[in-house]
């Protein structure tokens, strides 16, 4: 329970030290259980029952130009403890200053990064300087430690072994142009380990393997242009400085043929991209290219019908994906087909969601079925996969809602997997 106390303490502390202009708080608490029958296992544990709870916490305190933001999650096993049985995660925990001195945005703490090639969750500092008559020149610089993948606040590595810093310069053009130039320098040192190796005459010897080396350095260019407010063009080029390789390139166009008809086309170049000094960049491998295009048509009644075809070109092989479907605000149906190297599949999915009783009760349902095989040369039989979900949301007042949901899964591993979830959501906004 220590982490929960930590969360509550942090919130309490933040509220008290901040003369808040407003507080925004959201809390969700869910419990779900499932019973599963494993048809392929001969052990006595083939049938298992689980019950788990999880909570989400969102907390903002705003005071003028300053904001304190926390987004956290806890979970625990109520029966049949798995692993630690309890986990906590802080996705966000930062202080933000907006438009300071009419020039600067600042974020300090755990935050998500969106800066061209610089991306990830960072425990550190992010500054954005905005200048020009319309703030059209923006320079962002950031630095810190990549957040641990557990999102906890434990076992932080040494800064010399794990760091991430970089910058992005963005120019927002006269009207509808955005061009961004970005740089990222990231080092994440893998865990060292002991293992057995052979010496020159094939005698086994114990070796300590410590992978270390330069940091990964990336540079990127993003360009986005909108013509007449309805035709969009986007392009990016991302380059790995250490490996001296272009690892991503994209050209993307979205054109309005008529008010209700849009076409899009996209080309992607992808070089397999691994962490620098990974075992995988020493092997012989090939790049991928992807082409895709499609249409969207909007009917006057709000329904959108769409179709899309994409093909990936591998070395001496290819794979095709076809999607078609329709949707409106309350329901949707789609068909997806795969052919070629990636596997073969025919799948359908549909969903429906609507109010049952005005302002108070709503329901949702979804089904998904596919018949598929992974890989086109080594799997002969196709298998079935089905999932269905039915749920209701009761909202007696805007701030409070209660959810109940049942789910059924049938797949290649589990003959049946039924789950039931119930929980409540509460939010509060308070001005001072």
């Amino acid at each position: 329970m220590k982490p929960k106390l930590l969360i509550l303490t942090a919130m309490f502390f933040a509220v008290n030290i901040t003369y808040g202009q407003s507080i925004n708080f959201r809390f969700n608490n869910y419990v779900y259980g499932w019973q599963r029958i494993d048809t392929l296992s001969n052990s006595s544990s083939a049938k298992t029952t689980h019950l788990r709870g999880y909570q989400n916490y969102l907390f903002d305190v705003n005071s003028g130009k300053w904001t304190f933001n926390a987004l956290a999650q806890t979970e625990e096993d109520i029966i049949n403890k798995v692993d630690k049985g309890f986990r906590y995660r802080f996705y966000n925990l930062y202080v933000k200053g907006s438009n300071l001195f009419d020039l600067l945005d600042l974020k300090l703490g755990r935050q998500n990064l969106f800066a061209g090639v610089g991306k990830g969750t960072l425990d550190g500092l992010h500054l954005k300087i905005k200048s020009g008559e319309n703030k059209e020149y923006q320079l962002a610089v950031f630095g810190g430690i990549p957040a641990p993948s557990s999102y906890e606040f434990e076992n932080f590595p040494k800064l010399k072994d794990n760091f991430h810093f970089g910058a992005q310069f963005i120019y927002y053009g006269v009207k509808d142009l955005m061009a961004g130039l970005s740089y990222s320098n990231k080092k994440q040192t893998p865990e060292s380990y002991s293992t057995i190796r052979l010496d020159s005459v094939f005698n086994p010897v114990t070796r300590e393997i410590t992978l270390d080396g330069p940091s990964e350095q990336l540079a990127g260019l993003d360009i986005n242009y909108t013509y007449l407010g309805k035709h969009n063009f986007y392009s990016k080029v991302y380059y790995d400085i250490e490996l001296k390789k272009l690892y991503r390139a994209e050209i993307n166009a979205r054109v309005a043929i008529k008010d209700n008809l849009r076409a899009f086309a996209e080309y992607n170049y992808r070089e397999p991209h691994f962490t620098y000094n990974s075992i995988f960049w020493v092997f012989a491998y090939s790049k991928y290219q992807e082409l895709q295009g499609g249409l969207d048509y909007s009917f006057d009644n709000g329904i959108i019908a769409y179709g899309k075809v994409g093909t990936v070109l591998y070395e001496n092989d290819n794979s095709v994906k076809v999607q078609a479907g329709f949707s409106n605000a309350n329901y949707g149906f789609s068909f997806i087909k795969y052919m070629g190297y990636a596997g073969e599949s025919d799948g359908i999915s549909g969903y429906y969601q609507n109010q049952i009783y005005e302002d108070i009760l709503s329901a949702s349902a979804s089904v998904s079925y596919s018949r598929y095989r992974l890989g086109d040369i080594y799997e002969t039989d196709k298998v079935n996969s089905f999932s269905g979900m039915l749920g209701v949301t009761y909202r007696p007042m805007p701030q409070l809602s209660v959810d109940a949901q049942g789910q059924l899964l049938i797949n290649r591993i589990y003959e049946s997997d039924m789950r039931f979830l119930i929980g409540f959501n509460y939010w509060l906004f308070k001005k001072f």
Binding site: S150, F264, A342, P398, N411, R412
Partner: protein
Amino acid sequence: MTKQQKGMVFASERNDNSKLIKFDHKLHVTDAEIKCADCHKNALTSISSKDNLNPVKKDCAGCHEVNDEKTCNYCHYDGVFKKLEAPKSELIFSHKFHIETEKKQCIDCHQELDKVKFSKESAAGFPSMESCYSCHNSQKASNNCESCHSNLTNLTPKNHRSVNFLNEHKMSFGVSSDKNNCMMCHSDNFCQVCHSPVGFKGNNSKDNFYAPYYTKEGAVRTDRAALQKLTTAHTLNYKFTHGLDANQKSFECNTCHEPQSFCVSCHQSGGELITGFVPTSHQVNNFTTFGVNTGGGLHSELARKDIESCASCHNVEGSDPTCIKCHFDNDGVKGTHPKTHDFGFMKDEKGIWHETAGAVCYTCHTDANAKPNGISGVGFCGYCHGQNTR
């Protein structure tokens, strides 16, 4: 930027009273200087968006002789005497609160009605969500969806339902320095549901196969994925079918998932595997062939074609990669071990093997001279410096 992009309600989507009555806002408001509340009397006390706040006959009677049948046609079309319609609304809204407590003027939200005849002719006549957001920005007022929207099942904008929206949303975001209007519905918290490259490390063991990583509660709760509360972004059976997308490159999996920590929690060799988990490809004859010049079998072909697929299982931190079982070079003699590198690999590079014993090269090259500053011409160093190769 189009009206639609700005979130404006198209005139065609509004109720049209122009066929029911002859009327001119401009004439009344600008020329006659009549206040809004003189006609829309109920607006001052209305606490529900479902109220019809259009004037009724008696509201016009202050200025117009409504009982003189000879002058009906001044306002009414022949034979048309219907109550004015109000647009259907699913908003939680109180005019009374905004006027009395927040001291808002009608014109603050209903702009430019003094320049048109009917409200439907003015793009800004009915407030767009952008104008609400000027206050409902989580500072002056709440921007929780539920604070204004009573029905959360139909809020997904049209353009979000495009088949290519996942690929295209970056084209909308960032075309202007105010980042369009994404922030009206989505905070930073929402973006990281997908854009968390280090994220969502699951204990994908057999007993812990469905871990909730549901973080969308901080944002909009109307999309299909969000309604499947035990998943974040994928369908419930995605654990079984995700290989199709992974091979097809339909999505950049590493936008959300770090393969070294996420994929291997299920896929690692020797871990607690899901029953029946080993890929079928690995079970075919000659998946791996042993011996120099055998070509390596199917695994070699697949690796060359799609090495990312290999890495998703075999790139494990803190232990030997499976590749090491065969791809090792313990004597530093070229040509006696499985072919690993392309011809000329790193031939002209100033590689990190010169700089650090932590270079990945020394994971496989383990002869005594395989180290930075080794003896030229011996073992590993002999590949480039001197000749001891066969």
